[in-house]
């Protein structure tokens, strides 16, 4: 363990709310508390410009935080934000702004807001927008644009932002006049949140934000052409209920949609009432308590053996809020091949997209689960099946070896972090092996505590996501970023933000000095040829953290693990633990891409 725990960083008292608002530097001028308060009490002044309408739209929508980076084309909006009660967090990179907004959306359920200037600002957001799109996270991106008269002329910092983001947004809009721009923003906000959530974007040409208007934005409302079906067809519900009653081998598969649809409680009650074993997808972690005996945890490529056995052998699969992604299904031909599929989803396009739904139930997850609960009179007679699932739980236990004399095993570190934190602690991750260990060995019991990049698999997500999660979380929720060395390197400039804003987050870098997940695949499928996966050299992350003004720790041995974690958690502000783990540790079980879930490998030679 590092001896240099004592750090010179701003304490809580030195950091005021006003510093967080709009401060580009820690020493930015601050207003006294009272000024902000009086302002929020008086009725707002009428808007006079497009930019004021944009900010008013955000205020009306109840936005508390925005994450972004300044720049020429977005300056009019920032100038208005400067006087707003919305707390703007200046990020070190726009990608971080988008991830922070995304994580804010995951934890709070309300769209996270990010801002960037035109051109490179907007293109830097792209990865984060695509990430939110793949994971259906509510997010609103506002981008500056060159003045309308220059659009199309390859003006300085001009990018066709709506063109670039069309495939990766739920919807986007090029604001074309100052009178409408406020309502463009409220509409985009409402769209990001309603139905299946997702990122929306409003591109704001500078002449529009600078333009005069006295038009107040409309209330947040989705466009007339946007429809969400809340309740599923009652005949199909009845047929599905009958199928559940007669199931021999039922399984519930809870996806991220359960969490987004606030259906965790309804699913929990339904599963317990009818004693149906429960599996989650990776985005569904936290939808059902993993310490419950009905829980089989996560299925898919690195899911548990028991979840993959159960999903392969079930005869009735109740999939809720899942899009049957290929990392979950493995090869389609062998996915739940004996199962009649009941598929609940708010997005009709997900029904029978990848896996044919025998009972398609389009609607809001909570509403439809309640419909099902009302329609199912008798629990399925599945005693034998439950016993079989329990048997698989012991046959394919996740227990790992951790000999004292071997390097620290990553699973041990994840369990120690889980042990040291509360049930409501929030975990964010990068992408790679560490992400899988964090998914497998942390016991998730609450929705909105797992914040990760699933569909896009974006390395570098973890730290900026921890920043967004921290601001959305309650004060008593710890925020832990389980990161990889490679992933951390991609966005660690975000530490400057965490230090400036004095955010209490703990980053545990599972440092194997490898692009570990790639190294694991190379060992399995490329004859161990470690092309561009061996870093050989890594900065000392604990010292790097200190250079940023965060608190740095290092773990090399088992003996250090518990104490160091405790110290890092106790530190009120950002801390980084550089955990030197066994570089050769691999993630198991593993279903190779397109493989048969039931044939998961437990060791490399089974691949």
């Amino acid at each position: 363990m590092s001896e240099r725990a004592a750090k010179v960083t701003p304490t809580d008292d030195e950091q005021t709310d006003e510093q967080i608002t709009d401060s580009a530097a820690p020493d930015a001028a601050t207003e006294p508390d009272s000024a902000a308060e009086t302002e929020s009490e008086t009725t707002a002044e009428p808007v006079t410009s497009g930019a004021e309408a944009v900010v008013r739209a955000l205020e009306n929508a109840g936005v508390e935080y925005a994450f972004g980076v300044q720049g020429g084309a977005i300056m009019p909006v920032y100038d208005v934000l400067y006087d707003s009660d919305i707390r703007h967090v200046t990020m070190a990179h726009e990608q971080g702004a988008a991830h922070a907004a995304d994580a804010y959306g995951i934890v709070s359920g309300e769209p996270g807001v990010c801002l960037a200037t035109s051109g490179p600002g907007a293109t830097n957001l792209v990865t984060g927008i695509a990430d939110a799109d793949m994971d259906s996270d509510p997010m609103l991106a506002l981008t500056g644009q060159v003045p309308t008269e220059f659009v199309g002329n390859d003006a300085f910092q001009e990018t066709d932002t709506t063109g670039v983001t069309t495939p990766i947004t739920k919807d986007n809009t090029f604001a074309s006049d100052a009178d409408h721009v406020g309502s463009d923003v409220t509409e985009a906000f409402a769209l990001a949140r309603e139905g299946r959530p997702g990122p929306t974007l409003v591109d704001l040409p500078k002449d529009v934000t600078n333009g005069e208007t006295d038009r107040e934005p409309d209330e947040p409302k989705t466009p007339d052409t946007y429809h969400v079906q809340e309740r599923a067809d009652s005949e199909i519900v009845a047929a599905a209920a009958e199928r559940i009653e007669n199931a021999d081998r039922p399984v519930m598969l809870l996806g991220g949609g359960v969490i987004k649809g606030e259906a965790s409680e309804a699913c929990r009650e339904f599963a317990i009432e009818h004693e149906i074993p429960v599996i989650t997808t990776m985005p569904g972690l936290g939808a059902f308590p993993e310490d419950h005996e009905l829980s089989l945890e996560m299925a898919g490529m690195h899911g548990t053996g028991y979840a993959n056995m159960a999903i392969t052998h079930c005869d009735t699969l109740i999939g809720i809020g899942t899009r049957f992604d290929d990392r979950l299904t493995g090869g389609i031909e062998t996915f739940a091949p004996d199962a009649e599929v009941i598929h609940v989803d708010i997005d009709p396009a997900e029904i029978s997209k990848n896996i044919h739904a025998d009972y398609p139930l389009v609607g809001d997850a909570e509403t439809v689960v309640e419909q099902l609960a009302a329609a199912v009179d008798e629990s399925p007679a599945a005693t034998k099946w439950r016993a079989q699932c329990q048997q698989w739980k012991s046959d394919y236990s996740m227990a790992y070896e951790a000999p004292e004399d071997a390097p620290v095993q990553p699973e041990f570190v994840v369990e120690a972090l889980d042990e040291a934190t509360s049930d409501r602690a929030i975990v964010t991750t990068g992408v790679g092996q560490h992400q899988m260990w964090a998914a497998q060995y942390w016991t998730y019991t609450e929705p909105r505590t797992w914040v990760s990049s699933h569909g896009l698999g974006t390395m570098g997500y973890g730290l900026p996501a921890a920043i967004g999660a921290r601001l959305a979380a309650d004060d008593d929720q710890e925020v832990i970023c389980v990161d990889g060395d490679g992933s951390f390197l991609m966005t660690l400039q975000g530490l400057s933000v965490a230090v400036r804003e004095n955010l209490d987050i703990t980053v545990a870098v599972l440092n194997n000095e490898y692009i570990g997940m790639v190294r694991q695949w190379q060992d399995a499928f490329f004859e161990g040829r470690h092309a561009a996966s061996d870093y050989n050299w890594m900065p000392e992350f604990d010292k790097l953290a200190e250079a940023f003004g965060a608190c740095g720790f290092r773990i090399d041995d088992y003996d250090d693990v518990a104490d160091t974690i405790e110290e890092a958690l106790a530190y009120d502000g950002p801390s980084v633990i550089d955990v030197h783990i066994d570089p050769d540790a691999n993630v198991y079980p593993m279903v190779p891409s397109g493989g048969d879930n039931g044939q998961f490998a437990l060791t490399e030679d089974q691949l």
Partner: protein
């Protein structure tokens, strides 16, 4: 140290009897489950605003939908446009085309037209006019209207089904075709049947089975 987890090896595990096909449908020996591609017409009513056409065409390329033609034009309502798309996909693909189109915010309604729907396409065909009498005889055969002529060329407008236009182009080719320009298909449901109207409640969001609409869509 030993790496990996304990448990029965893959070959020691029970395996289920069933399988699914590539479309994710359980293979039921009783029922023929594979769906062959078929050509059909999808009509969409959309908000007449910038970017809709690129949204729709981007969707088709991004999702690898097999599309034969796409036309767009205004309607009687100046705020709305109609997009007509000819796709060739198996039933699950057609289902996806409709659902993905409906997800686009500016799209008001979408439907697949019945095989008997009215379909029309327009073509301009410019041919060598060395033998004006024969050329105009062929034009008469296809109800083609002369639009332009010059000492060397004659240009005709032909309207009709795809087959008719193809046949006309083929027949004109004996004179030497200089250029052909075709509009792609536009279509409309017959009688009181509505093509793709503003009535949003008519959209079946949770259709359980793929339609029986499996006869080939012939153009009239």
């Amino acid at each position: 140290m030993k790496r990996g987890l304990e448990g029965p090896a893959p070959e020691e595990r029970p395996t289920p009897a069933g399988r699914r096909n590539k479309q994710g449908i359980r293979i039921d020996p009783e029922v023929e489950a594979t769906h062959e591609p078929r050509r059909t017409v999808i009509s969409a009513l959309v908000a007449h605003e910038p970017g809709v056409l690129s949204d729709v065409s981007g969707l088709f390329s991004r999702r690898q939908f097999n599309i034969e033609s796409l036309t767009v034009g205004p309607t009687d309502d100046e705020e709305r446009a109609r997009i007509t798309i000819v796709v060739e996909e198996p039933d699950p693909g057609i289902d996806q085309v409709e659902k993905q189109l409906r997800k686009l915010v500016p799209v008001i309604s979408v439907r697949e037209l019945e095989p008997d729907a009215m379909r029309r396409e327009l073509a301009l065909v410019k041919v060598d006019a060395a033998d004006p009498a024969s050329v105009s005889a062929v034009a008469d055969m296809y109800d083609a209207t002369a639009v332009d002529s010059s000492p060397e060329t004659a240009t005709f407008e032909i309207t009709g089904s795809r087959q008719k236009i193809e046949a006309a182009v083929e027949t004109f080719s004996q004179f030497g075709i200089r250029e052909v320009s075709r509009t792609g298909l536009t279509a409309m449901a017959r009688g009181t049947d509505q093509t793709a109207g503003a009535d949003l409640t008519a959209q079946p969001a949770d259709e359980a089975k793929y339609g029986d609409n499996t006869q080939p869509a012939d153009d009239d």
